[in-house]
C-alpha cells in the first residue's frame, strides 16, 4: 500500500546464461554478460546518478551524469552504455566524478525553472533527486542568458501536458515512443541548444501521431510530460496493484491514490502481461468510475413505461426475487435465466452461473463471449482439448513468422500490439490476413511481407488454401504429426485438403487473393523455425467461425507450430475477462472448466458441493433466450455487466425480446441500453470498487483489488449473493477469495490457484495444478489435453455465407473497434477518450463513394436486410472496393440495427463481419434512429425523480 517507487535499474535486464564477475566500489558483483555497469551496480544497491537512463528503454549515454571510472580504462565512460566485463574494477564515487556530475547538473539547472515548490512533480522528479544526489548548491550561470524558460506549454492532450520549459532533452520520451510503444510520434527537432522534443512535425500532441499510451509520460524524469490529474490534485500517497478492466491483454497497474481518489493509473513494471506498458484506455480512461451518470441507488418499476422508484437494497432484491419466482411458478422453471459478462470478475461470473444452475434450477446462463469468442472455445476444445490460447504474450518475442488473422492488435490489444511490433522490428516476418488495411500492414519500421486482403466471409477458403499448399508442397512436420496427433484424423484431413478444390488457384475467385500470394505466405509460415498465429473476431464472428478456428488449429498442428515458445494458436480476446468468464462455466452447456452438463461424474461433483440436484441438459444461449422470449416461454432475465440491447446483432429483434419479458433485472454501473428495458436496476461496482480476479487472453489470472469503496455499497458478487439468498438458495461467502477456493476445489485446471498464490506470484497462468504449481505459460508441450493426448484434425469444408451481395445490397459491411473506445463504449464514452473518436463513421472506398456521389463527412444511409441506420462517411482506401466498415461504440449509431441474425453453425456467435448493405446519401437520421432517440430520451426522463 505504500507509495514506494518502483526500483529503476537504469537499463533493461539481460537474459544471458553466461555470468560475469566484477568489482564495483570494492564489492564483488556477479551479473549476466551484457549487463550494463549501471544495472550491475544497482543490483547491489549502488545507484549511480542518472537522467537519460531508465530500465524500460535501451541506454543512450547522453546526460553524462552516470560517468564512472574503470581501472585500466581511459576517461570516464557512461555506466549506462558500458557493458560489464570479467574482472572489471569500477569506481562510481570519487571527487573527480562528483565534480563532473555537479558540473553537468549545473548546466541542466541553468536552463530549468526553479519553481520546485509549486511544480506538479515536486517530490516525484528525478532532476530534483539528482540535484540533491550530486550535491548541487549553486548555479553560476547567468539566469538571464539564453534559455527555454518561456517555451509555450502544450495542453492539447486531455490527459497530460507537455511543458518544454522543463524539458532537459534526455530523449527518454522519444525512445519510449519508439521502443516501448513503437509509434515513433516523437523526435528531437533541431540541433545543439535548439534541440527540442517535437511531436510529429512540431505539432501539438493531439494533432500528431501520438496514441496517448502514456509511455512518454512514464519515462519523463521531470514535469515536462505530466498527468493533468496530478497537476490538479497533487501527487498520490499510496498505491495498490490491480488489473485493467479493458481489453484481453489484462495489464497490471498501480492505482496511485490519495485516500479513496484515484490520481493516476501507472502501468506496473512487474506486470507479466504488459511489462510496464499501457494504452490510452487503461492508463487514462478510468474517470467513468466516478462519472455523474453512475447510478448508486437500487430502483424498481412495474413496467418500462413507468418512472423508476429508488428503493432500499432489501426492497430491490426481494422484488427481483419475487418476480423471478412468480414467473417460474406460472411458466415453469426454465422460463428465466441470466447473462453474465466478460467485464465481470471470475468470482462474479462463477457466482452468477451458480445462482442460475443451483438457485434458478436451470442451465439458462450465457455470457457475452457468445457474441465474440465462443467459436474459439469450441474449435480449440475439439482439436487441442482445451478452450484456450496456447501461449503467453512473451512467446511472440521468439516468433520468426507471425500470422495475424482478423485481428487489429494495435487498436484492439494495443499493449500486446506494441510487443508484437517490437518483435517485427527485430526482424520477424509478418503475414496479415484481413479485408482491411490495418495499421500493422504498414507502420513505422514494420511492413507486412504479405497482406492477404481477402473478401469478408472467405476465411475458411483461405485457410484451406494455405493448408493445401502445406500438404501438397511437402511442408508438413511429419514427425510432429506422427508423435503428437491423431494420425487417422490427420490422414483423412490430408486427403481432404489435398483435393484441388482447395488449391489457391481454385479458391482465388472466392477469396479474391492472388494464388501466388497465398502460396508464398503458406511457405513462409510453414518454413519458419517458429510460426505463430494470432487471431481475433475477424475469425470468429462469421457463420463459419468455428470452422475457421478448427482450420487454424489444423494448420498449426500440420506444421508443428505448437507446444513450445514462439509458436502457437493465440486468440486475442476482446474484453478483459473473456477467457475467465468462459472458464467459469458461464456457457449453458458447460460447468466451470469446460465440462459438459451431461457428464454425470462432474454433475454429481457439483450437486454434492452445492447441495442441489442439477439439470443434465444444456440451457438456452443468448439468441435462443431472445427467440424464446418472443415466443413467450422465457420471461425473466438477470443481466450482470452486459449491454445486450446495444451489443447484440439484429437489435430490433433483441429489443422486441426484451419488451416481451415480464422481469428484466440489470446490474450495471449506468442506465445502459439494456437497462432502458429493465424493471429492476441493481447498481453495480467498477473494477476499482471490488476484489476478484480477471483472466486474460494468455490464461493469466491476475488480481483485481478494491482501491475505493463501492459507490453503491456492495461489490457485484455480494449483490448476486443477496439475490440468491432471496431466491431461497443460500450463499454465505465473506470474500471473493472464498469463491476462488471453491472454484479451485471443483475445477481441476484451477486446483492450485489461491489468492495467497496469486499475491505471491503476481499472477498465474492456468492450468495450475500439483504438476504445474506455478502455472503453465505454454500449453500442450508434451501432449494435447484431449483424452488420448493427441491433437485432432477435423475437416473444414468452405460453405458460403447466406449473406450474399445482390443488386439491392451490393456492399459488404464489416465491423471492428478503434483504439480509444471500448466495446459498447459505456466506459470510454464517459471519459475524455471521445476527443479521439466522438462518433462511429462508415469507412468507404473512394470508388464506391464516387459511384454514389459521396464526399467525406456526408451523412449516409446504410441499409441491410435487417434494418437501416445513418452515419457519416469517411472515405478511405483502408477498405477495399465493395467493402464498408464501421465501429459500434455509440448506441445511436445503430450498427447492430443493420447486422443480421446469421450466426456460427456451432456456437451461434453472430456473423457481425458480413452484412450485405447498400449505402446512399441521406439528409436525416433513419427511422430507427429517430425512434431510438425518442425512446432513449423518454427513459432518461423516467429516471428522474417524480
Amino acid at each position: 500500500m505504500s507509495m514506494t517507487p518502483e526500483k529503476d535499474f537504469g537499463t533493461p535486464a539481460i537474459s544471458a546464461t553466461q555470468m560475469v564477475n566484477l568489482e564495483i566500489d570494492g564489492f564483488q558483483v556477479i551479473a549476466p554478460a551484457g549487463t550494463s555497469v549501471m544495472r550491475a551496480a544497482s543490483s547491489i544497491g549502488i545507484d549511480i546518478p542518472k537522467l537519460c537512463a531508465t530500465d524500460s528503454i535501451e541506454p543512450f549515454g547522453s546526460c553524462r551524469l552516470c560517468v564512472v571510472e574503470i581501472k585500466g580504462g581511459r576517461g570516464m565512460p557512461a555506466s549506462c552504455t558500458t557493458p560489464i566485463a570479467e574482472g572489471m574494477v569500477v569506481t562510481t564515487q570519487n571527487k573527480k566524478l562528483a565534480d563532473v556530475r555537479r558540473g553537468v547538473m549545473e548546466l541542466y539547472i541553468s536552463d530549468h525553472p526553479l519553481d520546485c515548490l509549486t511544480c506538479a512533480a515536486n517530490g516525484d522528479c528525478e532532476l530534483q533527486d539528482m540535484a540533491g544526489a550530486v550535491g548541487l548548491r549553486e548555479v553560476r550561470y547567468n539566469p538571464a542568458g539564453e534559455n527555454h524558460l518561456n517555451s509555450v506549454k502544450d495542453e492539447s492532450n486531455p490527459y497530460f501536458t507537455f511543458d518544454p520549459s522543463k524539458c532537459i532533452v534526455c530523449s527518454r520520451c522519444v525512445r519510449a515512443c519508439e521502443e516501448t510503444q513503437g509509434t515513433f510520434a516523437l523526435t528531437i527537432d533541431g540541433r545543439g541548444f535548439d534541440s527540442k522534443v517535437s511531436p510529429s512535425q512540431n505539432q501539438p500532441f493531439m494533432d500528431s501521431e501520438c496514441v496517448s499510451c502514456g509511455a512518454c509520460v512514464q519515462a519523463c524524469p521531470t514535469a515536462t510530460l505530466m498527468e493533468k490529474s496530478v497537476i490538479d490534485h497533487g501527487t498520490p500517497e499510496h498505491a495498490v496493484v490491480t488489473t485493467c478492466a479493458y481489453c484481453g491483454v489484462g495489464c497490471s497497474f498501480r492505482a496511485e491514490m490519495k485516500g479513496s481518489q484515484v490520481i493516476r493509473m501507472v502501468p506496473n513494471k512487474d506486470g507479466k502481461a504488459n511489462h510496464g506498458h499501457s494504452c490510452v484506455k487503461g492508463r487514462f480512461a478510468f474517470g467513468y468510475a466516478t462519472h455523474k451518470d453512475r447510478i448508486t441507488k437500487p430502483m424498481i418499476r412495474k413496467s418500462i413505461k413507468d418512472h423508476w422508484q429508488e428503493v432500499t437494497w432489501e426492497e430491490a432484491i426481494n422484488y427481483a426475487a419475487s418476480e423471478l419466482k412468480r414467473i417460474q411458478e406460472k411458466h415453469g422453471k426454465d422460463s428465466i435465466g441470466g447473462i453474465t459478462s466478460s467485464r465481470c470478475t471470475n468470482e462474479e461470473t462463477y457466482l452468477v452461473q451458480k445462482l442460475i444452475r443451483a438457485g434458478f434450477g436451470n442451465n439458462n446462463v450465457d455470457t457475452c463471449a457468445r457474441v465474440c469468442h465462443s467459436p474459439t472455445g469450441y474449435g480449440l476444445k475439439q482439436t487441442f482439448g482445451e478452450s484456450s490460447g496456447t501461449q503467453n504474450f512473451d512467446s511472440v518475442m521468439k516468433a520468426d513468422v507471425i500470422m495475424v488473422i482478423g485481428a487489429n492488435p494495435t487498436d484492439g490489444h494495443p499493449v500486446f500490439g506494441s510487443q508484437m511490433k517490437k518483435r517485427l522490428r527485430q526482424g520477424a516476418k509478418l503475414i496479415v490476413v484481413d479485408p482491411r488495411e490495418i495499421d500493422l500492414v504498414r507502420t513505422p519500421h514494420v511492413a507486412a511481407n504479405y497482406h492477404l486482403k481477402l473478401r469478408p466471409s472467405s476465411n475458411v477458403a483461405l485457410i484451406n488454401a494455405i493448408a493445401h499448399v502445406v500438404v501438397t508442397e511437402s511442408l508438413v512436420d511429419e514427425e510432429f504429426v506422427k508423435s503428437r496427433c491423431d494420425v487417422e484424423s490427420f490422414n483423412k484431413w490430408r486427403n481432404f485438403i489435398a483435393d484441388k478444390r482447395h488449391a489457391p488457384e481454385a479458391t482465388e475467385s472466392i477469396t479474391g487473393v492472388p494464388a501466388a500470394d497465398i502460396r508464398a505466405a503458406a511457405k513462409l509460415y510453414a518454413s519458419a523455425k517458429n510460426g505463430a498465429i494470432y487471431y481475433g473476431l475477424g475469425v470468429t464472428e462469421h457463420s463459419q467461425g468455428s470452422t475457421m478456428v478448427i482450420g487454424i488449429a489444423n494448420l498449426a498442428m500440420a506444421t508443428g507450430n505448437l507446444g513450445r515458445e514462439g509458436v502457437g494458436v493465440n486468440p486475442l480476446r476482446g474484453q478483459n475477462n473473456v477467457q475467465g468468464s468462459c472458464d467459469m462455466g458461464s456457457f449453458p452447456h458447460e460447468y466451470p472448466g469446460y465440462r459438459h452438463v451431461s457428464d454425470k461424474a462432474t454433475r454429481q461433483l457439483f450437486e454434492q458441493n452445492w447441495g442441489v440436484s442439477l439439470q443434465p441438459e444444456p440451457g438456452l444461449r443468448i439468441p435462443n433466450m431472445f427467440d424464446a422470449a418472443s415466443d413467450g416461454s422465457f420471461l425473466g432475465l438477470y443481466v450482470e455487466g452486459e449491454d445486450i440491447a446495444q451489443s447484440d446483432p439484429d437489435i430490433q429483434h433483441v429489443h422486441h425480446a426484451l419488451r416481451s419479458m415480464e422481469c428484466v433485472i440489470v446490474q450495471d454501473l449506468f442506465l445502459n441500453e439494456t437497462a432502458k428495458f429493465a424493471h429492476v436496476f441493481l447498481p453495480g461496482s467498477s473494477f476499482l470498487e471490488k476484489n476478484g480476479t480477471f483472466t486474460n487472453a494468455e490464461r493469466r489470472i491476475s488480481p483485481v483489488r478494491k482501491v475505493m469503496p463501492a459507490l453503491a455499497s456492495y461489490e457485484d458478487w455480494e449483490i448476486t449473493q443477496m439475490l440468491s439468498n432471496a431466491m431461497g438458495y443460500p450463499m454465505n461467502y465473506n470474500h471473493p477469495s472464498e469463491i476462488m477456493a471453491e472454484i479451485a476445489r471443483l475445477t481441476p485446471s484451477f486446483s492450485g490457484v489461491s489468492y495467497e498464490k496469486i499475491d505471491q506470484l503476481g499472477s498465474i497462468q492456468w492450468p495450475c495444478t500439483d504438476d504445474t504449481p506455478e502455472g503453465t505459460p505454454t500449453m500442450h508441450e508434451h501432449e494435447f489435453m484431449r483424452d488420448n493426448g493427441k491433437g485432432l484434425f477435423m475437416l473444414t469444408e468452405f460453405v458460403a455465407s447466406q449473406e450474399k451481395v445482390t443488386q439491392k445490397f451490393p456492399l459488404i459491411l464489416t465491423t471492428g473497434r478503434i483504439l480509444s473506445q471500448y466495446n459498447v463504449g459505456a466506459q470510454t464514452r464517459r471519459t475524455e477518450n471521445n476527443a479521439w473518436h466522438a462518433e462511429d463513421l462508415l469507412e468507404i472506398h473512394p470508388h464506391d463513394a464516387e459511384d454514389r456521389g459521396l464526399k467525406d463527412q456526408d451523412w449516409v444511409g446504410i441499409k441491410s436486410r435487417a434494418g437501416e441506420t445513418v452515419l457519416r462517411a469517411k472515405i478511405s482506401e483502408r477498405v477495399q472496393p465493395g467493402v464498408v466498415y464501421t465501429t459500434f461504440h455509440f448506441p445511436e449509431s445503430g450498427a447492430n440495427v443493420i447486422t443480421t441474425d446469421n450466426s456460427d453453425w456451432a456456437t451461434n456467435c453472430p456473423e457481425y463481419k458480413v452484412t450485405a448493405v447498400q449505402v446512399s446519401k441521406v439528409s436525416h437520421p433513419s427511422e430507427w434512429q429517430q425512434d431510438y432517440q425518442a425512446f432513449s430520451e423518454r427513459q432518461l426522463e423516467l429516471l428522474a425523480k417524480e
Binding site: T547, H596, N624, D627, A628, A906, N908
Partner: protein, 76 residues
C-alpha cells in the same frame, strides 16, 4: 421457438459435418452436436416438426440427424 430458425441452425450444423464422406458418421456428428448444445425445448420443437412435416426444410443430412435424435431414449 421459431421453427424456421431451428431448421436453419440444424442445416448449418449439417453443412459442417457434410464434409465427412460416411454420411452415417456425419449424421451422428450432427445429432451429437445438437444434443450437446441445444436446450431441450429446441430439440423437442424440431423433432415435432420433423415428425409432423416429414423433415421439410431440413437438408438430407440434417433430417437424418433429427431422425436419429427422435429415436433416442433418455439415458440421463
Amino acid at each position: 421457438m421459431h421453427i424456421e430458425k431451428l431448421l436453419s441452425m440444424a442445416n448449418d450444423i449439417a453443412n459442417f459435418f457434410n464434409a465427412e464422406s460416411d454420411k452415417d458418421i456425419a449424421a451422428e456428428g450432427v445429432k451429437k452436436h445438437i444434443l450437446r448444445s441445444w436446450d431441450p425445448r429446441m430439440r423437442k420443437a424440431i423433432i415435432q416438426h420433423y415428425t409432423a412435416a416429414n423433415g421439410e426444410g431440413l437438408s438430407p443430412l440434417a433430417g437424418n440427424a433429427i431422425k436419429k435424435l427422435s429415436e433416442m431414449k433418455d439415458d440421463n
